[in-house]
Amino acid sequence: MSPVLSIRGLNKSYKGGLVALKDINLEIEKGEIFALLGPNGAGKTTMINAVCGIVTPTSGDITAAGFDVRKDYREARSRIGLVPQEMHIDIFETVWAVTSYSRGLFGMPPNDAHVEKVLKDLSLWDKRKTKLMELSGGMKRRVLIAKALVHEPEILFLDEPTAGVDVELRRDMWGLVRQLRDKGCTIILTTHYIEEAEEMADRVGVISKGELIVVEEKKALMRKLGKKTVTFNVNEPLTAIPDGLKEWQLTLKDSGHALEYTFDTQAERTGVTSLIRKMGDLGIQFRDLDTKSSSLEDIFVSLVHTPKAEAQPKATAQKV
């Protein structure tokens, strides 16, 4: 099956010398939820804007739903919806006016019933006659989503969709995103909330300094790069790590009451068994132990602070 979005050799440089995107290669399958993670200024929004026609790439090829976004821009763009990161709205207009306008702008015939359905799904129906300036931040964010959905896109870009919204709305949006995917829509979202990507994404891409350093199935990524931490709560507090335990690179915690050992879950030998044995040999007894798997956030932080040469070999699933 051909990908619904294909990006090949995408570069973007600005006149001042800033290189925003470096040789981005990415393919996204139909019906996927893809999360693009990266720190501020990494190039997430630039990449989305290049696909949507808001930024002109320096070089590279992009196809959306099989159409070249430059040569067949009408076909490509009519299939894309974009929820921008910034709150770009016409505050003097009503919810109904701006939503209907967006449908027409994207070449769709008027369909009041559909506009009504979109507004109802986003709990905006009661506010349809309200001017945007009178809405809360969360409501404005919903309007942006309604505007992006009202022309029935195949690909939806959500650029930081839940930035600045409350927990309830965030959960609601996650539900909506899943519904959209179930109906065949492909979702590409950027987010600062790793929890969001962890909750929803099928695949995760990490972009740093304009380079896509990892693209991987979320579960596989967590499995591959995930680390586990085991914490031993010892009976007698320690003042220092005993010499006999140096090779495990333990950390002393809780004023010497806990020993923490972090290990790679993919390693052939985790070292846990030998550590416990050694602790027994040294007479270090523990009451209990806690284990904790690293979150996607931990993985993300480690990736963006790892040189590309180290991160790249782990990124085996980049479909190019």
């Binding site: 821009y73 009408r74 299939r79 910034e86 016409d90 109802k120 799904d121 709305l169």
Partner: protein, 277 residues
């Protein structure tokens, strides 16, 4: 969003639509045009009151107070009547530029330009909608000013069809000019810069209050370089049949003006000048 789940279960709400975008995206053009016009009609009073009052004052001061003491411009044509086409053009120039420049500058200012740039529309469709809406407003304004003139001075229109066509063409040309200013401007100050610095002087020296042959001979040649002179002369011909030999020049100047402006807009959209990045 409490009803989101139930609504989604009842029918496919946002399933991707099957589509084929036509060569000319009529729905998009209509949506943009309508959006601009709705804003105009919502503030109709404010949109019309200022130019109508200003023009009425011109008629009172120049038409009645001063004009009544002046000899007829030509036999049977009082100075007050002579002013009508020029004053309509004066309002058309300034309002076309203002409406069109503000129309495109406002989305840039608020950031909603992202939607235009990511929509499946060509630059020509954007121009048709935005400039078309601004020109429509100017034509409406021109006709309202004409109606106002009837209250102050006798007005005759020898070539009404040509008058309306000329009105529409000049409105479109200056709206196009305003559209370019709106893209170029990076602040509200810049939005007013070109109209104040260039358009107002050209208009005041363009024969609104006089015919070119009233100027000293040396100035008459210089005035011929002012395109506004030809636009006003052509429009005045439609009313009174004066300076008929200038109609072809007037039309030619307007068409060349529109052609150059369209080329500039095409370049702006192709390069993304002050629109993208």
């Amino acid at each position: 969003m409490a009803d989101a789940t139930t609504a989604a279960q009842s029918a496919p709400a946002h399933a991707p639509a099957q589509r084929r975008v036509p060569t000319f995206n009529g729905y998009s053009v209509w949506a943009m045009y309508r959006f601009q016009m709705v804003r105009f009609f919502r503030t109709l009073g404010e949109s019309l009151a200022t130019p109508v009052i200003t023009t009425a004052l011109y008629f009172v001061v120049f038409g009645s107070a001063i004009g009544s003491r002046m000899p007829p411009v030509v036999e049977g044509l009082q100075y007050g009547s002579f002013l009508v086409p020029g004053l309509i053009m004066l309002s058309i120039f300034t309002n076309s530029i203002f409406n069109a420049s503000f129309g495109i500058y406002f989305p840039k200012f608020t950031g909603t330009i992202y939607e235009l740039l990511s929509a499946p529309i060509s630059y020509l469709e954007i121009v048709i909608a935005f400039v078309g809406a601004a020109a429509t407003k100017s034509v409406i304004l021109g006709l309202v000013i004409l109606a106002t003139a009837y209250f102050f001075v006798p007005v005759k229109i020898l070539h009404p069809v040509e008058m309306v066509l000329f009105l529409a063409l000049v409105s479109f040309a200056f709206s196009l000019f305003g559209f370019i200013i709106g893209i170029w401007a990076q602040s509200f100050e810049q939005l007013n810069f070109i109209p104040m610095l260039v358009v107002t002087p050209l208009t005041m020296l363009g024969g609104v209050f006089y015919t070119i042959d009233m100027l000293p001979e040396a100035w008459q040649g210089i005035a011929q370089l002012n395109p506004v002179v030809h636009l006003i002369a052509g429009f005045r011909w439609a009313f009174f049949g004066l300076q008929g030999d200038n109609v072809a020049i007037s039309l030619g100047v307007t068409v060349v003006f529109v052609g150059v402006l369209l080329a500039v807009v095409a370049w702006m959209f192709k390069t993304g000048y002050r629109l993208k990045n």
